[in-house]
Amino acid sequence: MHRRCFLGRTTAGLALIPLTRTLAAAQEQPIMPRELYDRDGSFSDIARSMAGQRVRLEGYMAPPLKAEAQFFVLTQRPMAVCPFCETSADWPDDILAVYTKRTVDPVYYTVELVAEGILVLDEYRDPETGFLSQARLEDATYS
């Protein structure tokens, strides 16, 4: 199954987000997936500065791509599926793949959660789902 690479051309609303938050401040409280990207889809300074570190991100769990997975997609907003917009689900650009320590216990897609893991910035295609990511959290937990 081909999945759209989520690092596309843009990140929602980035122009409105002040990028002055320091790394230290960002680590005191969770950041949002959109803060990882600049408007043109490239990684933000925050993302680059946090790469390889254990970080916390707040967002929403998209309905899992498969059962009994150790992987889910963290979305900026509740992942609406619109039958009149899409013939099949399209991923927004401001999302993040999260690879968990344990099998994912699904959280309803409108309930906000915080995921914590090591931020990795490179391309990876999930072998089971075919989901292609440019950035992800590894060894992650969430609550």
Partner: protein, 496 residues
């Protein structure tokens, strides 16, 4: 006795109303009174234009019913530093207006396929089908034959006019498809079911319409439906590359980003195909390296004026993502795409002459959003409803509270992903409202609170408005069925 007195009172009022109105009432110096008199005076000066329309531009903001449009009006006004209510969107200055009943033949709540067909062909049809009558059974190709309708683009082309379509949605999506496609299902964008031989997919139908000269300009999103699966993002299982077909066999100019968009020669005698995204174009709030709706509209009008020459042109413009932001329950993006639509309307108006160009501005349907009260002036249309002040025009700065003693936003949705209800361990949906702040509510990604949990917020069957100016615009009046929009355009285009 009472009746006699009442009649005498009316007679007296009729005899004296105008002089007393103008001279003696204590409110005659009030700014609201004076502004309203100016409005009436302007209306009295209005002349009906009964000349044949050389050009017609139909501008559809998908999902922008009266309520959604109200939100955009206030947002635009507040962006300009005002309270918002007093703002006037470009098409709200148009002299003629009607309310439009949008239901589909078989659905109280319509979709864009049925509504697009109504506006573009003059007949209402069923939900989910494009360019066909309600005799068709959705998804059943065997019911297509004998049940197709002619679109306004086809009719205009038959009169020698140039025609085009512009959309921020996929160019194969319902509204633009209603300009050229006949499909028993709106979702047949790049393929038809096995055994379906009565029609081709919608992308192929666009290419055929361009080859036939019916469509001269097509710009929007949806490239995936033109590319083979073998190419990154492509969806065509038949392996065809319709972009190459357009370029190599039709000689089309093709654009996919701002560089190639800028290289289009509108004067050239070649069709124009612009596909700027694999799926829909970006929301205006996120737009990057692709043209705005206004920029596409400008390019399309320039090209169609050149191609149509003295025969004129017809153009359909769609702001497709007002609808999608509403579906997401995200009013912040909805109003920004609404503003982008308003800018496109203003530009279309500026580029054409009211004497020979009929501009029709409308929506295809409304959404399930509604507005809370009683908000004071200047309450952020995306934020909290603030109480009205007794001693100043602007709101008090104190939020209105529900019985749960929590504030609420001006805008709410009846259903959608912003629902306050979530399933508990037993699968029952329960919930309470979040205690939201104004800062949180005005965030670009905030979803307004909704009641019924649905992954996609729904359309509603509520009326939309149609605004018009130019030849025969005055025929848009009262409360009309949606398919009447076509008939006024057709009358204007063919009047003797």
């Amino acid at each position: 006795m009472t009746r006699t007195l009442t009649a005498s009172t009316f007679a007296l009022a009729a005899a004296t109303a105008m002089p007393a109105f103008a001279q003696d009432l204590p409110q005659t110096g009030n700014e609201w009174f004076i502004a309203a008199q100016d409005t009436v005076a302007a209306a009295l000066e209005r002349q009906q234009n009964t000349d044949r329309a050389l050009n017609i531009i139909l501008m559809v903001s998908d999902g922008n019913g009266v309520g959604s449009n109200y939100a955009t009006r206030l947002f635009a006004g507040q962006q300009a530093g005002n309270f918002g209510d007093e703002h006037v969107l470009p098409f709200e200055t148009f002299p003629n207006l009607a309310l439009v009943k949008t239901y589909n033949v078989n659905s109280q709540t319509p979709d864009s396929a049925g509504t697009g067909t109504a506006m573009m062909s003059g007949v209402k049809t069923n939900i989910g089908v494009v360019g066909v009558t309600s005799e068709v059974v959705r998804g059943d190709c065997s019911t297509l034959e004998g049940n197709t309708v002619a679109s306004f683009n086809e009719i205009a082309d038959g009169m020698g006019k140039a025609t085009g379509i512009v959309s921020t949605a996929r160019i194969t999506h319902a509204t633009p498809a209603s300009a050229y496609a006949k499909s028993v299902d709106r979702n047949f964008e790049d393929a038809v079911p096995e055994g379906c031989e009565s029609q081709s997919d919608i992308a192929q139908q666009l290419l055929a319409a361009m080859e036939a000269g019916v469509i001269d300009v097509a710009m929007g999103g949806g490239m995936r439906h033109f590319l083979p699966e073998s190419e990154e993002g492509g969806r065509r299982a038949d392996g065809q590359n319709l972009v190459e077909v357009a370029q190599n066999e039709l000689g089309a100019q093709f654009a996919s980003d701002m560089v190639t968009f800028g290289e289009i020669d509108p004067e050239a005698d070649a069709p124009i195909l612009g596909l700027f995204e694999m799926s829909h174009m970006m929301y205006e709030a996120d737009r990057n390296d692709e043209p705005s709706l206004a920029e596409m509209t400008e390019a399309a009008i320039t090209a169609l004026q050149a191609k149509g020459g003295e025969n004129g042109f017809f153009l359909q413009v769609e702001a497709g993502r007002v609808d999608h932001a509403n579906h997401a329950g995200n009013a912040a993006r909805m109003v920004r795409d609404g503003m982008a639509f308003a800018e496109a309307v203003a530009l279309a108006d500026e580029m054409t002459d009211d004497a020979d160009t009929l501009i029709v501005v409308t929506a295809d349907h409304e959404h399930s959003l509604a507005f809370n009260g009683y908000c004071g002036r200047g309450s952020d249309i995306l934020g909290l409803c603030m109480t009205a002040s007794d001693d100043q025009v602007e709101h008090s700065g104190e939020p209105e509270l529900g019985a749960d003693e929590k504030p609420y936003t001006v805008i709410g949705y009846l259903n959608g992903p912003g629902s306050i209800l979530v399933p508990n361990d037993e699968g029952e949906f329960t919930g309470t409202r979040a205690d939201v702040t104004n800062e949180e509510a005005t965030d670009i990604d905030y979803l307004q609170q909704a009641l019924i949990p649905k992954s996609s917020e729904s359309h509603s069957g509520e009326d939309v408005a149609v605004y018009a100016k130019g030849p025969f615009a005055h025929l848009y009046d009262g409360t009309i069925e949606q398919n009447v929009i076509f008939h006024v355009m057709h009358h204007a285009m063919t009047a003797e």
